[in-house]
Point group: D2
Chain length 376, copies 4
């Protein structure tokens, strides 16, 4: 904690809060060899602080951890630990994330968080980079006023759903969404769901999850209303779509599957729906951000798809997939969507969000150009 | 095949067609020590016919098979094999069931089948005993004309759904049903789903299943319109409810879970919905049929229920369970229902149907009295 | 805690320590309607003490909990809480069991424990009732001296192994045992193994387990050497068998499977080995204890057996099963054995042990007669 | 089948027999973009022959199939279909592989097979490229006599075991091996094990597997005795090690885990054992074959390793891993080894074997030089 962190020339030194949990592990896996960011600080709970990472972590990723990370000492999760890191990734539990993240933002850091504590705060952008990149304006306004900001990554179930809905909302209008999820156990972190509870079983309840999916979806698909003359900042207006969510835990390691029925704003032919997905791209694709998938949504063209074990890793886990598109006798259309809950739905989504923020100049006041050329 | 089958005094000799498959195995498990029925004939495919049951079967039930059954020889699946059995249970694959079942009915047998071949036939009652026992009248009419009849057990997903919907339809009217199932692998029989395909996975597609759930539900909840003067027989009129079904296979051994949203015929308080389930009983309960659960629907009063591993075996697998009742912003109410797919949803449901038919005199022309006293 | 506990006439009032964990839940399930024992006290950690059982427990058993138990208040785990209970069942974690159990024994209770803390104590009998019932003499000696005693149930993996080995050791002598276990997740309790760690996985390591299997097996199969003239008490002499254990966790809910190779004391024909198992019975069978299986070992006579899902529930989970007996080119014979780890291997084994102790007069100074007639 | 197959300049045109099964799918995945080989012919059973690959296959790989392959027509599995392919990969079922492979070898093809039919033939090399590359001499002799040859890939369980044993046998001598496997379901192919049979279960029996592991290990570790003066060809002499194998199926998708105890030829310190593995490399490493892992054996240095989900994909699934090395009170040392059963243990192993054969000049009469430089 003593000396200032340093990063290789041209790289931004970053910290990961809550580095030993499963989302923290994913952050470290995805940040290994990142062209823009270098992890220089790891924090953990007081119980683990002071120990080398390799001793404190129960590593559950298939990709091995790097020797450099393994040898780093864990710091306590507090402001002093991350001094010198303009960008901080938070993989903290919601139980502790709230005050720490607020403190770090007040101290001038840009905090990109996967925790739920601040997602519905009126001054915190809740962003899926392909869906509502304009919401970052609110954080830009804060930074322009000289303080840091929190950028929130949505709930792991919401992200895939929002990706699948966005092209439909844009092209046809979106009035009603009925979604039933079948969520992987990795979404509950570590220790998370006990194996005794999920083997040979389905648990039709995830505390608070349905409310999150319903409210976050409306915020993400919502508009930004700009503040008067300044042109900086603004506030969020929820999308009027009505959402009904039912969330289930199933014995799957990674990958959240969702059965969705939608009521659109106008009559549409089924081929138009497919075409809306297939033609979809967002700002991460246009900016060629390092972690952006080439295509954020893959229509799989196979009657029994998507399936978590077969399709969660598309584009390194950063692309959502959809299939089983067919009419719904009640709402209009039905389909199934899938996304990797700890990559796109957690650490990977937060990383893409941080890249978007950097590219839009939130960190530096300047935008992308110097960095874009280093995109891997 | 040579001599007439005989059963202990007062018991009805029955045959099981397709006795080596997983549903066939369940039939034999449930028919062991049955107070009314004695299994005297087992049939199988030509490949297995002629072999003793113990050698031909790959037994996957936790309950051991009886020594008597294990020693029986398998017969070919044809009319000659079941001569002398007024009642025949069919656990045949849909691929072969159709013509054989029709032939046996024409020969005067009462065929209670779990296969899908004849479910939507206009002259075949598709019956959940607590839901539409009156539909048996159509078969009674056939028998009165001197031929046999086919009684069809619905699809394993439809049965639990129909049980949960019936009290609501009766009390409040039922207009719309949206159902997403998470179905156990045993529903696919043997070999069924390959383990490579379902471990760590969800398969969001079961061939033909969604259509079955949608159409069978309307038939079961529908009315019987009686034939003119005779008072015997009649035809079925579908219930007008609109049903949207999405069916998924999950890595669960037994027990189909369904997330259901319903639009009712009138405004109802949530307590009324619960009360409708808790007060529900049907003809099997009134007749005290041997396989009838005391309560066909259990409201579990636990926020994370129902769960297949914990609740599928309620009342020996013959009761459905419901919970997670809450308002649905789109349709009215949401809930989760669960039933044991190879007990209530297959062999157990068919057995209860046979008991109902016997109690109503379809087999004998006489009704229940002599037998009811032997209920276990 | 205020008033003395009371039990129905003729029943012994018992307490269950650590009642909310998975072993505690099994104790309560098995003690429901027990002919000799009535649960009158439940204890838990300080975090849960004071709350009604139904609120504090995360129930994971398929059998529902009784209304009476659900309404009982949890007490802190301390001597005052179990005053008036001559018999105390301990389902405590090993981390806290040691001092509490010693304190209760010193206070005169007979403590039957599933925890590992005292298993290898020189004055604590470690007993599988069919294998080494004579070891109870040591506890009888303690009781004769006016203090209580601890009776230890072995590790869940050791019990099934010891059952399978005992007939071989008696009939042929036993020199070498090589065992590789594949253990169910329920053996790790709650929360135990995280589902992220075990789905689609094998964990080839269970902390301390191999040492337990190796040392406990020698103690259980060992002899009791009587103390000089008194004839009461004595000490334990390990069996000289050499044991090599390798323990693995597999994604199975209940049931520990073990691949065993044995070197026997003399040349034996394979049929003799099978006969030794099939003819085996122990004191629980002779005394007709309420929880005793009719046959403690089932030889299954099926080439692909035993399998946890099919065979763990034999005789209510109290019987071990063996099959795949064949020569081992290295040691002599090989076989596979299976037992239910939370029934026979934990709560059920401890309950049988308590029954044995009561029948042998440890609690009352008198033996079995009055009670045996109430055996269910 | 009509015209001669062609491959890009410098690539060898190859055929895959049995291309729709799970091993066939792995072959195609691994052969995509191979620097030496180009798949130009696919065969299947008569049922599928004539259909495009994309329609006939039930694709279960996470990696998508290439468009070129998806569009190829399946041919019947017969000599005419593979004319023009000097190298043929066989992923046929053992039930049909024997005569077809013999016919193709007689017709001059080099057949590299994953099937078990010819493994123990006295004139068929059974080869793990790092373990017994010299055995290829026998095939070279056949080719020198103007006929083709069969090269057999060992059983999926044997390969990982042989890799782990080879350095020990070389350094210390190997006298006794006791192995208990926990095998993934993908090893049984498609449909393979039914999901009803393996969910929440262990099956302690795989038909014929134990015999294969025991006999193949001795052949692979055995010597080649050269034929008199010619210096070409020879015959195989089994290694004298005594092997006892017990094989289990567990609910794991990919990755065979084995608990191994070994008796070595002399007293060894535990560090020497580890050093033997860590220093091990074979001919594929020296020749830098395209599919060779950098290190064939990884010692993981983590107490709870190896685990299939975490470690099966090391070096693209081509490296075996070992850990949990510790003394065995019975045999000497114990350890756990893991390898990917459908990569290294099947298609990947066969591919590496084909590369070795090509590099040694079996196909061309000339050796490696021209090709080695294209190693990817």
């Amino acid at each position: 904690m003593s000396r200032e962190p340093s990063a290789p020339a041209g790289k931004i030194p970053v910290a990961v809060l809550g580095a030993t949990g499963s989302v923290g592990q994913r952050f470290l896996t995805l940040l290994a060899d990142h062209p823009w960011f270098e992890v220089v600080r790891l924090t953990a709970s007081d119980r683990s602080a002071g120990r080398p990472y390799r001793e404190a972590v129960s590593w559950v990723q298939a990709a091995p951890k790097s020797e450099r990370i393994a040898g780093m000492d864990l710091l306590p999760t507090e402001a002093a630990a991350v001094a010198g890191c303009p960008l901080v990734f938070s993989a903290l539990d919601a139980a502790v994330a709230g005050p720490v993240e607020a403190e770090l933002a007040a101290a001038g850091h840009l905090v990109v968080t996967n925790a739920g504590s601040h997602r519905m705060d009126p001054d915190v952008p809740l962003v899926v980079p392909e869906v509502n990149p304009d919401h970052l304006e609110v954080a830009a306004g804060q930074i322009a006023r000289g303080v840091g900001a929190i950028l929130a990554n949505p709930n792991c179930s919401t992200i895939g759903l929002a990706l699948a809905l966005k092209p439909l909302a844009d092209a046809f209008g979106l009035e009603r969404v009925h979604v039933v999820t079948m969520q992987a156990v990795s979404g509950a972190g570590l220790p998370g769901v006990a194996s005794m509870q999920i083997l040979d079983n389905v648990i039709p309840w995830i505390a608070g999850e349905e409310e999150k999916v319903e409210s976050e979806t409306r915020k993400i698909l919502g508009r930004l209303r700009a503040h008067g003359e300044s042109g900086i900042g603004g506030w969020f207006v929820d999308h009027p779509v009505e959402v009904s969510a039912q969330c289930n835990r199933v014995p799957v390691v990674d990958g959240h599957t969702a059965c969705v029925s939608v009521g659109l704003g106008r009559r549409v032919a089924i081929d138009e729906v497919r075409a809306a997905w297939e033609g979809f791209a967002g700002e991460p694709q246009r900016l060629r951000l390092p972690s952006a998938p080439a295509r954020p949504i893959h229509f799989l063209d196979r009657p029994d798809a998507p399936q978590p074990r077969l399709h969660r890793d598309l584009e390194g886990g950063m692309a959502a997939s959809v299939e089983r598109l067919r009419p719904c006798p009640l709402l209009g259309f039905r389909f199934v969507t899938l996304s990797h809950n700890t990559v796109r739905g957690a650490a990977g989504g937060a990383l893409l969000l941080a890249e978007l923020a950097v590219a839009k100049g939130l960190l530096t006041g300047r935008g992308l150009p110097a960095m874009a050329s280093t995109a891997r």
